[in-house]
Every structure is written in C-alpha cells, then in structure tokens.
C-alpha cells in the first residue's frame, strides 16, 4: 500500500454475489459522463447499422444539389448579380448572325432537334440548399458524413479486433510458455517494431493496394505489437501468481491454465486497450483515405471528405470540412470518454 495507512478492510459485500463484470457495470452506471458517452456511441452504432443496411444515406453518390450548395441555415448561394462585364461588348440590338452557309453541321440541326424532343430526360430540379450543404459535385454532405462514419468506424472496429486477436494469442503464448517460443516471438516483435509504424503501413499499402479489407488487414498487421507487449507482460505476471501454481498443483493442463484461468483475469486490460485501438485506427484510416491509400475511389470516408475540403476551403466553402470534423470529433470524443469510464469501472484497485 502506498498511502500512509495500512490496507483498510471494508466490511464484506451484501449477500448478492457479483463477479467482475457485474460490479463494473454497476460502477459504470453511476458514472454520468460514462453513460452519456455510451449513449452517444450507441446512437452512432445504430446509425451505421442503418446505413450499412441501406436504410439511410444510400444515395450519397447522387448529385442532388447545386454544386457547393450551402447549408440550409445559410440560405442559397447568391445568384450572380451585378453587371456582366462583357455586356457592353455586345450590342443588344444585334441580330444573331446566320452562318448556315459556312456551317457544315447546319443541315443537321433540325433533325437533332426532333430527336432530342423525343427523348425524355427526367431531371429533378437540383436543390439549392441541403442540411449540411453539398460538395463540389452537388452530393449531400450529410449523407456522405453518415456513410463515411459507417466506413471509418467499421474499419476502426474490425482492425482493432484483428490486432487484438493477433496480439493476445501471440502475447499469451510468449508470456506463458516463454523459452524458445518466447524468444522467437520477441524476435518477431522486434522486427516489426524496429520499423516505424507509418513506414510499415506505407510498405504494406504499396504492396497490397487500396480497399477496405486491405486497410483493415494492414492496420491489424501493424498494430498488434502494442497488445502483444501488454498481454505478454500480464501473462508473465500471472503465470507466477499463486492461483496459477495452485491450478498446476491440482493438475490443470497448460491450455486450461492459459485460457480458463489466466485469460479472464487479463480480459479487462485487453478490452481497454482494444478501445484505444478503435480510436487510433479510425484516425489512421482517415489519414490513409485522405492520402488516397485507404478506401477505393467509389467509397466515401471522412478522410476523402477532408481531402476535398482542403480545396473547398480556399473558395470559402467550409461545410464539408465542418461536417466531417463534427461527426468524427463527436464519435471519437464519446468513445474516448467511454473508454476512460470503462477503465475506471474495471479498475481492480478500487475493489
């Protein structure tokens, strides 16, 4: 105990028995910030589930608005007012010059006019404003932000799961078994970590190309090292704990000791680390998509929105930048705060 007092024994808990997760949930419920952020995260998850099912933001690619239409609260773009500088150059009374004699296409004009009249082109009128405005092609920024959320969060989540699985299994093996296996895995770890992360990502990207699945794979293959280190240290610590020796004494097998005994004691640490991964990988995916190394051209991500935003900003069109930033900041902040609350709820020191 590092405080100035000896360990103070709390009176035993009331009759209803609680395991770690139930206790943590109870503690989490009393953390207001944690619950609010959980709610925000839940809203986003619902949103991206709807989006992936095609119920929301399905037609984000359709050009439904005037290019660079401003957000609704700003009102439509002002029409071109003021005198046309070239107006004086052309006299208003001038008759259009008849060029039929020298124009080679002249005989065809009437035919084309007839044909054109026969073809129906349904063109719905383009919107002047949209809730979050439109991008330079007239696409709905709100839809793009939602779809982008789906992609970015999806990638972040799955890459986190992948990195967690790889890191946990390798870390458990390395920490528990030790010896030659541990040495080998440490060598693999050293090889991966001696190359700076971004460079490793670039190397993989150069070789594997673009695509959502590829990005997930790349991020998972580069990111597992952090979890490995953590899990390995935990397994080394726990392998020497007496409850594991006790399990050995009663005859439990190695596999049982690794995954039935130790893993449940490590899972809360893994969970918190995985949450940190989600945030980190979302941010990484955004940067990769921005650079053109992430999602393919026909998909949208917050990163691609930001790459368009750079040029737009110079022209004074700030809404796509704002939309992407607000969506991303809201989700990441909520998720980070939730992770903090989760860590506090699971902290065994408070038990």
């Amino acid at each position: 105990m590092s405080a100035a007092v000896e360990a103070y024994k709390l009176p035993p808990e009331p009759a209803r028995s609680r395991g770690v997760w139930a206790t943590a949930w109870r503690r989490l419920k009393s953390d207001r910030v944690g619950m609010v952020s959980l709610a925000v995260v839940a809203v986003f998850v619902l949103m991206i589930l709807l989006s992936s099912a095609g119920l929301v933001a399905r037609d984000w690619q359709k050009e439904v608005a005037v290019p660079d239409a401003p957000p609704t609260f700003m009102g439509p773009k002002a029409k071109q007012t003021g005198t046309d500088p070239l107006a004086d150059a052309v006299s208003k009374d001038a008759k259009p010059v008849d060029l039929s004699d020298i124009d080679p296409l002249a005989p065809k004009y009437d035919e084309w006019k007839e044909r054109a009249a026969k073809i129906q082109v349904s063109e719905s009128p383009r919107a002047e404003t949209l809730p979050f405005g439109a991008d330079r092609l007239g696409r709905n920024v709100l839809d793009k932000a939602v779809k982008g959320a789906e992609i970015s969060i999806f990638v972040g989540l799955f890459a986190a799961v992948l990195a967690t699985i790889i890191g946990t299994i390798l870390g458990a093996l390395s920490g528990y078994v030790g010896g030659k296996v541990g040495d080998f895995l440490e060598w693999v770890y050293n090889v991966f970590t001696s190359i700076p992360d971004i460079l490793l990502i670039f190397a993989f990207a150069a070789v594997l190309g673009r695509g959502i699945g590829t990005v997930i794979l790349i991020l998972g293959l580069v990111g597992w090292t952090g979890m490995y280190r953590l899990v390995r240290a935990e397994y080394i610590k726990h392998s020497n704990r007496e409850y594991v020796k006790a399990a050995e004494a009663i005859g439990a097998s190695h596999l049982a000791r690794m995954f039935v005994h130790i893993l449940p004691n490590v899972s809360h640490v893994v969970l918190v680390r995985m949450s940190l991964y989600v945030v980190g990988f979302i941010k990484a995916e955004v940067i990769l998509s921005f650079l053109g190394l992430g999602v393919p051209v026909d998909q949208v991500s917050w990163g691609t929105m930001l790459s368009e935003a750079q040029a737009e900003l110079v022209l004074g069109h700030w809404w796509q930048l704002a939309a992407a930033t607000i969506f991303m900041a809201t989700f990441v902040t909520a998720f980070s705060l939730f992770t903090d609350a989760l860590r506090d709820a699971l902290d065994p020191k408070l038990r």
């Binding site: 090889v191 955004v286 900003l313 930033t325 989700f331 980070s336």
Partner: protein, 301 residues
C-alpha cells in the same frame, strides 16, 4: 540487434517479392510490350532463383548501393542525402519543443491534480485529440497562411536559415500544438504514478515541501519513462513528418516515401524501411546506455 536486422531484411525482401506487383511491369509502364518487359526482367535479374536475388538485396544494403528510383531515375542515396536536411529542419525543433512544453504542461496539471482545472483540461484534451490532425493542418494553413497571411502557405528554399525562420514556422507551430494534448496526458500519467509511491510519503515525512516533492523527487523519477518515450519517438521523426511535408510542399523524406508509395517505387520504400530499421536499433542501443545514467537500478548488459 543482428538477428533483428536479419529479420527486417528478410521481411522486406519477401513482402515485396511475394505480395508486390511484378517490378518489370511497373517499370515498363502501361504501354510496354511483352518483349520489353522480358528485357527488363533480365536486366533486374528477376529470372534468377530467389536466394540469388536475396543475396543481391543484402549486398545492396551493406554497400549503400541502391540503384535508382523507378519513378524518377534519381540515385536513391542521393534522394536520402538531399531530402534529409529538410525533414530534420522541421522535425527536430518539433521534437524538442513538444517534449519541453509537454513536460511543463504535465507538471502544471499534476500540480493541480484532482481540482476542477485538472478535470477541465482532461476533457479539453480529449476533445482536442478527437479532431484529426488533418483538420488542424487544413484549418491552420488556411487561417494563418491564406486568410491572415502571417506565414507562407507553402514553400521551401535553399537557405537553412530562411527555412527555419520563414517556411518551417507554421508547420512547427501546428505540429507542436497538436502534440501537446496527447503528450501532456501521457506525461501527466507518469507524474501521477510517481506521486503515489512510498518514497513521496517519506519525503513529506522529512518535511519536504510540495513544490520540492514534485520538482525534485517526482520529476527525477518520472524522467525515466519520459526518456523511454522520447527514444521510442525518435525513429518516427524521420518519416512521421510526411503529412506536414505534403501539405506544405517541403521536400523531405516523409513526402518522398509517400510519393514512392503512390508511384509503386519499390526501391525507395525498401531502402527507407531497412535503413530506418537500422537507425531504430542504433537509437535503442543508445537509449539503453542513456538509461544507465538516468535509472541507477538498470544493469548494463
């Protein structure tokens, strides 16, 4: 160190060999005829067995003879030589400034720990961290460069001094500003870990005031993980600047690597990867030695 280096070389070689596209086709371009491609293959030695190719690869690493970039034909060693100064001009000031400022900020926050200020700063940093670095650069560049005109939006010159005082200023300020949030949080956790240790209680029992406890006793111990962190960051400096260099058109190594990725310029990427790995190992070795000076419990192996 040597087994790791061997591992990195093998890794890079096999990654590009088995997962990368056919170098001959890439070099040949879209319009190359099959005969041209074959000729290139012959020239690159791609028809040799893989262990011969591996051996050539290893040789080229140790003789620093990397050949030329596939995209521009420039000698790769030349690329390194000319781009490195630009990267360092920007990244070293960033590294120094962000470390010093983060330590100061973290100590200040540790000093007011538990108070409302502490909580507020934690929330602000969380929000600040949730905004992508890209946004900061886009907005920063637009605001200070374009709109207010205080700094050049982009550019680089041949004079070191002009670069440092003129072109590098905005990128450095933006990068340091963005890194304040994460590093303050990290260093704050280092300080708080130390404050709860037994030896702090002993110091107080001796009559040491809170200021001295924080700035002498705790700081000295917290410097150990801070230095570890610095050592871990240093290798990333050489490439981590890629975003800044791209935005501000600074001809540095990071931007070079990014260009190479987009152009499938394998030799450049391979060379960077291997050399940075070597650099990382050297830095780690140096860090280990530095450790002994900082943490007396460490035994030099």
């Amino acid at each position: 160190m040597i087994p790791t280096l061997a591992g990195v070389i093998l890794f890079v070689f096999f990654l590009f060999k088995f997962f990368g596209g056919d170098p001959a086709e890439i070099l040949g371009g879209l319009l190359a005829t099959p005969e041209q491609i074959q000729a290139i293959r012959q020239q690159l030695g791609l028809n040799d067995p893989w262990y011969v190719q591996l051996w050539i690869f290893v040789k080229s690493i140790f003789t620093f003879n990397w050949g030329n970039s596939w995209a521009t034909g420039e000698a790769i060693s030349n690329i390194f030589r000319t781009r490195l100064p630009a990267t360092l001009t920007v990244m070293l000031p960033i590294l120094i400034l962000e470390t010093v400022l983060a330590i100061v900020a973290a100590m200040a926050v540790a000093y007011v720990r538990g108070s409302l200020t502490d909580r507020a700063i934690m929330v602000i940093t969380t929000i600040a961290l949730s905004i992508s670095f890209l946004v900061y650069i886009i907005v920063g560049q637009w605001l200070f460069g374009f709109y207010l005109g205080w700094f050049p939006v982009q550019g680089w010159s041949d004079s070191f001094w002009t670069n440092l005082t003129h072109y590098a200023v905005l990128p450095i300020i933006l990068a340091v500003f963005v890194s304040l949030a994460p590093y303050t949080r990290l260093y704050r956790s280092f300080f708080l870990d130390e404050i709860n240790q037994d030896y702090v209680r002993t110091a107080r029992a001796k009559g040491v005031g809170e200021n001295r406890v924080l700035f002498v006793h705790v700081l000295r111990n917290a410097m150990i993980p801070v230095l570890t962190n610095l050592a871990l960051q240093l290798p990333g400096v050489f490439v981590g600047s890629f975003l800044i260099e791209t935005f501000f058109s600074i001809p540095g190594l990071g931007r070079e690597v990014l260009l190479a990725v987009n152009r499938s310029d394998y030799p450049v990427i391979q060379a960077m990867t291997v050399y940075l790995a070597v650099l990382t190992m050297i830095i780690n070795l140096a860090a280990d030695i530095l450790y002994r000076a900082v943490d007396p419990r460490v035994v030099l192996k």
